[in-house]
């Protein structure tokens, strides 16, 4: 299964879905067309916003770092935050907001504990530049990278329950290695959480 298939698996059809950092609306488009979801995206990039509008998706131009107070408690069945938390100024606050707004939430993170990233840093002594993290340290949007362990620790610190989780290798697929030792062998982790 890939990310979108996992998400579909985890949410009921015709749910109300909010995607924070929805990009060009790829996930929302699929959920809306194939899963009958009522969808709303939040995005800051103007080109992406226009692509969403072009696809007929509802999208709000908003900077997540400036707060999400305009979304009331439990106002969506599902809040998705995919590959976004690591670019935010306050990931902890964002995580709390995500679980406040959604009855359940789905969060995807890039795993900085992946074995090649570790070896890369160990051997070269420089911040790793990889396929999932392609920019140099001074140039990257990813200002709050974490490992799978870090993320799960943050969840328990915030008293957030992990309901489901799934790990992907660098091909975006589930694998035995990624399942057995995710913090070493998964490049991406996806969580279903709630508070």
């Amino acid at each position: 299964m890939n990310t979108i298939e996992v998400i579909k698996n985890w949410i009921d059809k015709e749910s109300q879905v909010l995607d924070l950092g929805c990009g060009d609306g790829e996930i929302l488009n699929i959920l809306s067309k194939e899963w009958g979801s009522t969808v709303l995206g939040v995005e800051i990039n103007q080109d992406d916003i226009n692509k969403c509008i072009q696809s007929g998706l509802n999208v709000i131009h908003q900077n997540i770092d400036e707060g999400l107070e305009n979304f009331s408690d439990s106002s969506f069945d599902i809040v998705i935050m995919s590959q976004t938390i690591q670019v935010l100024k306050e990931p902890k606050k964002a995580l709390q907001e995500v679980t406040r707004i959604g009855n359940e939430s789905i969060v995807t993170i890039p795993n900085f504990g992946y074995w090649t990233t570790r070896i890369n840093l160990l051997l070269s002594g420089k911040m790793p530049v990889t396929g999932t993290l392609p920019s140099a340290w001074h140039d990257t949007d990813n200002i709050h990278l974490c490992t799978i362990k870090d993320f799960e620790n943050l969840c328990s610190e915030c008293e957030i329950d992990v309901i489901e989780k799934c790990f992907f290798n660098k091909f975006g697929k589930e694998s035995i290695l990624a399942k057995v030792a995710p913090n070493l062998f998964a490049t991406t982790a996806i969580y279903k959480i709630s508070k």
Binding site: Q16, T38, N50, I53, G56, L57, I60, Q62, N70
Partner: protein, 369 residues
Amino acid sequence: MSDSIGTVKAQKVTLEGEFELECGQSFNDIELVYETYGALNADATNAILICHALSGNHHAAGKYENEDKPGWWDSLIGPGKAVDTNKFFVVCPNNIGGCHGSLGPSSINHDTGDYYGPDFPIITVRDWVNSQAKLSDALGIEKWHAVMGGSLGGMQALEWSYLFPKRIKKAGIIAAAPKLSAQNIAFNEVARQAILNDPDFEGGRYLDKSKYPKQGLKLARMVGHITYLSEEAMRSKFGRELKKEKLNFGYDAEFEIESYLRYQGDVFSESFDANTYLLMTKILDYFDPASNFEGKLVNAFESIEAQLLVVSFSTDWRFAPERSKEIVNALIEAKKNVSYLEIDSPHGHDSFLFANENYVKGLSAFLEN
């Protein structure tokens, strides 16, 4: 490819029957002037209604024969433009109360044979939308593909969405607010005082006495104009540039900005009616859809079925992005189909008139998705 619509002509229609106003008064038959661009398709599903703002009129695009100046939204309406007249049939009326041919204070009251002048009733955004619905009937348009406008025009588009939810597929609400702030009303009041206190205003009966409160209207426009521009736009366009090389220690227009404002005020006061200006500012001040719902905007939006696009501009301080977000947040809470775009633009409130790239892309994506 974007091009001009070319030469256009205004049309006139009489909407017959009694027309009741929110204030309790009514008109018998109302005359509206309007322009259309593009062609209505066979099933009348490609029509877009453009609502004009405070000083606007029905001449939104193209040029009149022997005139150089295009309509006020020509940058956005035309073949291949944001509102593509190759695809859409665009209608823009001059609202009642206006001074460009539709029933207004400078029209003759057939009951008395005199100009309406100050006796013209105070109308509201709702009255406008009701009159536009009558125009829709006359044009054979059951459901608009979109109703859109900037500023006060955006307020009309918003009003359409909850007043006639079945008659509108999309609403474009641009550089608008859900109601005026105290500061907004304050600026309007300064404009009104300028007009009301001009000795040539004659209690609004200046037309009967062949007079005209030019100074008052000029001042009103000057103060209004300041609120349409951003500090940044004024600084980059005029700065502290002098008309002559040095200060001359007098009260003539010395700085370029003084000269510009005086010129704008002059031009405007020669082409606009003072009673209409007073009326327009009142219509703005009165607009407050939440007031019938215990101040809850979300309840006012209950009936909306349309897809809505709200657009604001970064340097607009007359109706700042925060004001547009009030509309957006109420629509989100009401679980309506809404998208919101905040465009980076240096032109202040006037930004909605310029063909900014992201703005054009967003609008056309919205109209054509």
